[in-house]
């Protein structure tokens, strides 16, 4: 039987979503100092340290799956509370409109930042050198169209369409049949379903940032989205894994350890083939699944509260994620030729980017019409249980 949880009980999901968004900034910043990403990251720095790889790819394994799980959960909530038409209007305003507004702006900003990088950086990254000829006037080759780090908004729109299709075409009985499976059988089924999309792409999962939906991404992230959607209607579906949370954490860590060992030293180099590829894919799927579940279960236990700091982080995280990348690259270009240790550069880049994003939030978002898109709760910060999913 479907249960209807109270919105106030979902503080942990708002907090987790904010953490996942802000972790995006940490992840992107870390790639500049990652030996594995050296060949393809725009702001790759001469100073590198393997620890960045270990931490960055660990977060990459479950950050976006977690985000899509939460998006699926709030989709179910909003659809049930507000109805299909209000849901569509809400998503157009909070997902489609920011995408349409910010994709051209960020593309222009990124082009400007790349020009700055090309003119100031004395030790440019391999990618920066590669795209240099494309920016010369009259060049036949152009930079490919990309949704950049906003790909998740773009794919979310497709997942909303597919959710509508599933709501019309599939019966609730399917959910019940799946949930009737034993906990571990269900986990095993999910694991098997995650394998095909991961098999199709190189590891670790790339950003599906072209201007069209990537089927593997809709499949892979769609599964997490669907899990979130089902968990809203069947709260017990998540709770039954609570006793296994430590095991999930350990299994995730073990999977990640094997996955990391199998990753090539340079991610542009040839990927493992045959059984090694299968093992790597299995570990990637298992790590993503176990850590996503573990993150949800631990967050429910320790992050299910609301205070001013958490509400502030939840409110700013969407804006920070949206605008951080050009600023981060600009700062990292400025830091490239300095002979500081990688860790110091990383901290400087993260703190300055975060400060810049927060400053822009208070200058450009709160007092302007953008506030309606990104800060609908401003002025009501004391309301403890305001459903922040409206910001998603």
């Amino acid at each position: 039987m479907m249960t209807e949880p109270k919105p106030g009980r979902f503080a942990y999901l708002d907090n987790l979503r904010a953490v996942a968004m802000l972790a995006g900034l940490l992840f992107h910043a870390a790639l500049a100092y990652s030996p594995k990403a050296h060949g393809f990251w725009l702001s790759a720095d001469p100073a590198q340290y393997p620890l960045f790889d270990v931490l960055a790819w660990a977060s990459h394994l479950f950050r976006m799956p977690l985000f899509f799980f939460i998006a699926g959960f709030f989709t179910a909530l909003l659809w049930q509370k507000a109805g299909g038409v209000a849901f569509a209007k809400n998503r157009l305003q909070r997902v489609a409109l920011p995408l349409l507004l910010f994709l051209p702006l960020l593309t222009l900003a990124m082009h400007a930042v790349i020009h700055v990088g090309l003119s100031v950086v004395e030790q440019p990254s391999a990618l920066l050198q590669l795209i240099k000829p494309m920016l010369v006037a009259g060049s036949q080759t152009r930079l490919p169209l990309s949704t950049m780090h906003l790909w998740f908004l773009y794919h979310l729109l497709f997942l909303y369409v597919l959710t509508y299709c599933a709501r019309v075409l599939l019966s609730d009985a399917l959910q019940k049949h799946l949930l009737a499976l034993k906990s571990r059988s269900l986990l095993l089924l999910l694991l098997c379903l995650l394998l095909p999309p991961l098999w199709l792409v190189p590891a670790p999962v790339p950003a599906p940032d072209w201007i069209f939906p990537a089927l593997w991404a809709l499949w892979f992230y769609g599964l997490f989205f669907a899990c979130g959607y089902v968990v809203y209607h069947h709260a017990g579906a998540l709770a039954r894994y609570d006793a296994d949370r430590r095991l999930l954490l350990m299994l995730g860590a073990l999977s990640y350890a094997v996955f990391y060992l199998l990753l090539p030293a340079d991610l542009l180099a040839a990927q493992p083939l045959g059984w090694a590829k299968l093992l790597m894919t299995l570990c990637e799927a298992s790590g993503a699944l176990c850590w996503t579940l573990a993150a949800l279960l631990y967050a429910k236990r320790y992050l299910n509260r609301s205070n001013k700091v958490l509400r502030y982080l939840s409110a700013v995280s969407y804006w920070v994620y949206l605008v951080h990348l050009p600023l981060l690259f600009l700062l990292q270009f400025g830091l490239t030729d300095l002979s500081w240790p990688a860790g110091v550069k990383y901290l400087a880049a993260v703190l300055l980017t975060l400060s810049g994003c927060l400053l822009s939030y208070h200058l450009l978002v709160v007092p302007t019409v953008l506030g309606k898109l990104f800060a609908p709760n401003q002025g009501r910060a004391d309301s403890p249980d305001k459903p922040l999913h409206k910001l998603l």
Binding site: V161, L162, C165, L169, W210, I211, F212, P213, L215
Partner: protein, 228 residues
């Protein structure tokens, strides 16, 4: 004389009723559309061509199914008797049918065409194919308008099916005819879409024919005095 505004609320309800009748099919087509655009987006020649054929098939199937389900079957299944009991005139009914069918077809048609264009623009596929894709899509829309008009004016499954068969046969001929035109053929592998006088002329002709068919259908429907 009745017009579309005289009983707007009832017309809206009838359109809503039609939407409820076909929403399952449309949801399936929509999911199919996402799959096809994803396939085309993989940007290999095989998958692009497979996706393009599936896309054309999808557009034809959506049109054919909605015309049959919403117009012909209503008469055949005798659900028209229910409509007779409503406070609507034959003109209201005609407007609702035309509106519902156009809306239910144009939305997925537009999404599929825009999706296909987005794939072409953002993938290594030559942008020179854009005029061909647009012209074929407009031809499919024109075909749809023709058999919708036939269905609305005759309520005959036989006539409507005949028009469907003819327009589908003409589609193949139309594509071959386009590909044999130097103005179209020679620009297919161009890096940008080449809208020359031939392609623009064909596009204008296609859109004009669509408008004529729709206005003609609406005018003939206005003259109806009974549901039968």
């Amino acid at each position: 004389m009745s017009n579309i505004f005289s009983n707007a609320r009832m017309i809206k309800l009838l359109i809503g009723k039609d939407w409820q009748l076909v929403k399952k099919s449309l949801a399936a087509y929509l999911a199919g559309g996402v799959l096809v655009i994803g396939l085309m987006g993989m940007a290999t020649p095989l998958l692009f061509n497979t996706g393009a054929i599936l896309m054309i098939t999808l557009m034809i199937v959506i049109g054919a199914r909605s015309a049959i389900e919403l117009v012909i079957n209503e008469k055949k299944d005798q659900t028209l008797a229910f409509v007779l009991s409503l406070p609507v005139t034959p003109q209201d009914y005609a407007w609702a049918k035309l509106g519902a069918n156009l809306l239910l077809y144009l939305v997925p048609w537009l999404l599929l065409v825009l999706g296909m264009l987005a794939v072409i623009v953002s993938s290594p596929v030559y942008n020179g194919v854009i005029p061909l894709v647009v012209l074929v899509s407009v031809f499919i829309l024109l075909s749809y308008c023709c058999y919708l008009a036939t269905a609305l004016l005759t309520y005959s499954e036989g006539y409507t099916t005949a028009v469907m068969i003819i327009t589908n046969l003409l589609l193949n001929g139309f594509i071959i005819w386009l590909l044999r035109m130097p103005a179209i053929h020679l620009t297919l592998e161009a890096p940008t879409a080449s809208w020359n006088s031939t392609s623009l002329g064909l596009l204008t002709g296609g859109i004009t024919l669509i408008i004529i068919v729709l206005l003609g259908t609406a005018a003939l429907q206005q003259r109806k005095t009974s549901f039968l």
